[in-house]
């Protein structure tokens, strides 16, 4: 379980604009929550507070009931999976070495690491024999992101943070990976936070969606509630855009049938 309680953060003390202001978000164990918003809405800032890449100016962050400020940030991060856009794989290391990064930091035995790497590559749909010795520049964007997810899960974290993981992928690859993420999230009973600016992605993947704008949380709701009862004008406009696009597609399809 992850709790962000009344957290605020601004990057520049003199600035009047808050990156995040009085945000409270709770993610239940086993839940997949999407943080949805435009760039600059504060969603990534909120995410980084969970693994202490950032610390809030005020408020409290708890993971599994423990205040993260009491934890050593380096040790904390090794227990939390973290995936960023375009994966951030290290180009000078092979796929296997990238995936084995955290287990190595944790000084696992070589045999444990090797079998774990194979297990993870299989989990994310990459045949270990083919891929373990490849280098990142020999992979497609989708494959790289699969390796990124495998790397994040290497040390068996119970929490997974994803920061726009599918943002740079083509639509077909993206939809495929979204499905994989949902499956892995369920199989491993992870507690997952997904940052995205893609309304459809948030609605189709998440158990609950947190809509953010200008550092504030505007609504927290299941996709169904969000569509049916937007909390304010901003959320309503977002919902309208999706609805409009959907209607246009329907209209196109009908005209094609005629």
């Amino acid at each position: 379980m992850i709790e962000l309680v009344d957290v605020s953060k601004r990057y520049d003390r003199s600035a009047t604009a808050w990156a995040v202001q009085h945000a409270t978000v709770t993610v239940a164990a086993g839940e997949l929550v999407a943080l949805l918003g435009e760039s600059g809405s504060g969603k990534t800032t909120l995410l980084k507070m969970v693994n202490r890449l950032l610390d809030p100016d005020s408020g409290e962050v708890r993971v599994a009931g423990r205040d993260v400020r009491a934890e050593d940030p380096v040790a904390l991060r090794r227990t939390i999976g973290y995936v960023i856009q375009q994966a951030g794989l290290l180009p000078h290391l092979s796929v296997a070495d990238n995936v084995a990064m955290v287990p190595r930091l944790l000084r696992w035995s070589r045999r444990d690491i090797d079998s774990r790497v194979d297990e993870l590559l299989a989990l994310v749909g990459l045949a270990p024999v083919t891929y373990r010795d490849r280098f990142p520049d020999q992979l497609s964007g989708g494959q790289r992101q699969r390796v990124g997810v495998a790397r994040a899960l290497a040390a068996r974290p119970s929490v997974l943070l994803l920061d726009e993981p599918f943002g740079a992928l083509d639509p077909i690859t993206r939809v495929g990976l979204q499905g994989e993420l949902r499956r892995i999230h369920r199989e491993l009973s992870l507690t997952t936070i997904l940052v995205t600016h893609d309304m459809v992605e948030a609605l189709t993947l998440a158990d609950r969606v947190v809509v953010m704008c200008a550092g504030e949380v505007r609504q927290i709701a299941t996709p169904q509630v969000l569509l049916a009862a937007p909390a304010d004008d901003y959320v309503a406009r977002l919902v309208d855009v999706v609805r409009l696009q959907s209607q246009q597609l329907h209209a196109l399809a009908e005209r094609g049938d005629a």
Binding site: L53, I84, H92
Partner: protein, 579 residues
């Protein structure tokens, strides 16, 4: 002259012509070795200092600016000047508080280290700053501690840029290291300086080509190492790795020899091992005691394993160093010659015991050490100079018998046409004439004195390498040159030396100076004291001309000189002392 004839010296293979190519190449090997060691030591220190500094600075942009500016400023100092500057710096700071010598290896390595620092620093900082921020963020988010982040992510990703900086530095350093010769560090510059001065183009080319080849090979080895290490961690590190390891082993093997001031590889052109012909091996071991001890007075019996003879960077000095070497070797002393030294460096080196003997000129010390602005009778200059150096623990063995004075010379046709006999006759014509001078002359007190005394305002002045001055005046590129009175080329080029009735220029009696280590050594005194008054100017001129004009080696000219002078031995017997 019982001892003047030196059996064997004239039979030495390099006696004629410019010295065989094979001999030159063989002689280049120890120079190449000490050149390589110098470069690798400087690079190693620069990397050891530069990389950690770059890591610190990459995270502190405000500090990085000033440090890079300072390193850039060092870079703009001409190599020759930077190397020469390290001599007073090390002397004044007592070797940076580490007791490093201010002569030879230490100042050369220090200057080259500073020289190599900029490309290493700049590339490392640029490389570290250029590491993809997302990559660093991802690794941090995975749970890497700052040190792990540096070692596993930032340094490997910046490695190609860092390596490029080291390669740039290595090529620069190989080139700049040739300038270590004037501060007493044997290197390929010895061939370049001596080849230029004695117009031995083969020697010059061997030096230049060897330096260029060294730069290219070093660069290729570093490139191969970089390729093997940076990209694929378990790639083929074998061949370049082995090459690099071999280099390191060679350096470690040679380093102790270079750092021990007593056994520097005193190599010069056409110069064999330190022991002269006819002398049994092991003679130098006669005084194997603590050579580092510096006797404060001539009374104590000093024991020096090898005598270090210095030479400035012109022909006469090369010949005289060979004369000293031959005489010392006859007394059973092992000799190293360190040549092509800067004239500012050589006296300081002698005074501090880094050199033991060389020939200087009374007028030079009169103007540079005693800072006198006006000339004086030659006996007075000699007496005051000898008294002055004695206070510094340096002993003069008296005048050799010739002067090598600064003089102004003109072509015979110029002298005839303008009716020039003395410097005073120049004044009315000076505005239409061009003066060519060696690098030093125009900034020396002698020039100020002459210019003031005779009201000389030349239309144009130009600086030349001394080796090129005589040709420049012969080819009408200039009309008047600064010449040296013992230079055989004055006569060879049919030049007229203008008289100095006002005695504006001091006299320049050549004199042997002994450093504190050997000032009281009877073997050294027996070998060198008899040279007093033994070298008349016409003999010296002819010996100089043999090298400058006939391309004889300095060693051959020295042998000729000793063969044609008469020396009265003061110690009997002149044979090597009992072991």
């Amino acid at each position: 002259m019982p001892d003047a004839k030196l059996p064997g010296v004239l039979d030495v293979g390099d006696a004629g012509g410019s010295g065989g190519l094979g001999e030159l190449v063989r002689g280049a090997a120890p120079l190449l070795a000490s050149h390589l060691v110098l470069v690798l030591v400087a690079l190693a220190i620069a990397v050891a200092v530069g990389l950690p500094l770059a890591v610190v600075l990459a995270r502190r942009p405000r500090l990085a600016g000033p440090v890079l500016t300072a390193a850039g400023a060092i870079q703009t100092v001409p190599g020759l000047a930077l190397l020469a500057l390290m001599v007073p710096v090390l002397a004044a700071s007592h070797g940076l508080g580490l007791g490093l010598s201010s002569f030879g290896f230490a100042p050369a390595a220090l200057a080259l280290t500073l020289y190599a620092l900029l490309p290493i620093l700049r590339n490392a900082i640029t490389g570290l700053r250029g590491v993809d921020a997302a990559m660093v963020e991802a690794a941090r988010g995975m749970g890497m501690a700052p040190r792990q982040l540096l070692r596993r992510v930032e340094l490997p990703l910046a490695a190609p840029v860092i390596a490029a900086g080291i390669r740039t530095a290595s090529v620069w350093t190989v080139g700049a290291a040739t300038l270590a010769t004037p501060i007493g560090q044997p290197c390929l510059g010895n061939y370049i300086f001596a080849g230029l001065q004695t117009r031995n183009w083969t020697m010059l080319l061997v030096g230049v080509i060897a330096a260029a080849a060294l730069a290219l090979i070093l660069d290729a080895i570093l490139a191969a190492t970089e390729r093997a290490v940076s990209r694929r961690p378990r790639g083929n590190v074998g061949v370049p790795g082995a090459a690099f390891a071999a280099l390191v082993i060679v350096v470690i093997g040679l380093l102790p020899r270079l750092l021990d001031p007593g056994v520097g590889p005193g190599v010069g052109p056409g110069v064999g091992p330190g022991v002269g012909p006819g002398i049994g091996p092991g003679a130098g071991a006669a005084g194997a005691g603590p050579a580092a001890a510096r006797p404060d007075a001539a009374s104590s019996a000093p024991v020096v394993a090898r005598v270090r003879v210095g030479a400035k960077n012109f022909t006469e000095q090369y010949i005289l160093a060979e004369v000293l070497r031959t005489r010392l070797a006859q007394r059973g002393l092992a000799v190293d010659v360190v040549e092509s030294l800067g004239s500012n460096v050589v006296f300081e080196a002698l005074r501090h015991g880094d050199l033991d003997a060389y020939v200087d000129y009374s007028g030079t010390l009169w103007t540079t050490q005693l800072a006198r602005e006006r000339g004086a009778p030659s006996w007075q200059i000699l007496a005051e100079v000898e008294g002055y150096v004695a206070k510094l623990g340096v002993r003069s063995l008296g005048p050799l018998g010739f002067q090598n004075a600064y003089a102004l010379a003109v072509r015979r046709d110029t002298a005839t046409k303008l009716g020039l006999r003395g410097l005073g006759d120049l004044a009315p014509h000076a505005a239409t004439l061009a003066l060519g001078a060696d690098y030093e002359f125009l900034s020396r007190r002698e020039w100020t004195a002459v210019r003031t005394a005779y009201r000389l305002g030349f239309g144009r002045t130009a600086s030349f390498d001394p080796a090129l001055l005589y040709e420049a005046v012969s080819r009408h590129e200039v009309d008047v040159i600064s010449a040296f009175s013992s230079d055989g080329r004055i006569a060879a080029h049919d030049l007229v030396v203008l008289e100095d009735p006002a005695a504006a220029l001091p006299s320049y009696d050549a004199m042997i100076l002994l450093g504190p280590r050997v000032a009281g050594d009877p073997r050294v005194l027996c070998a060198l004291a008899p040279l007093r008054g033994a070298l008349p100017v016409d003999l010296m001129r002819r010996a100089n001309l043999q090298v400058d004009h006939d391309h004889a080696s300095p060693r051959a000219a020295a042998a000729w000189l000793l063969d044609h002078t008469s020396i009265t031995e003061t110690c009997v017997p002149a044979a090597p002392p009992r072991p």
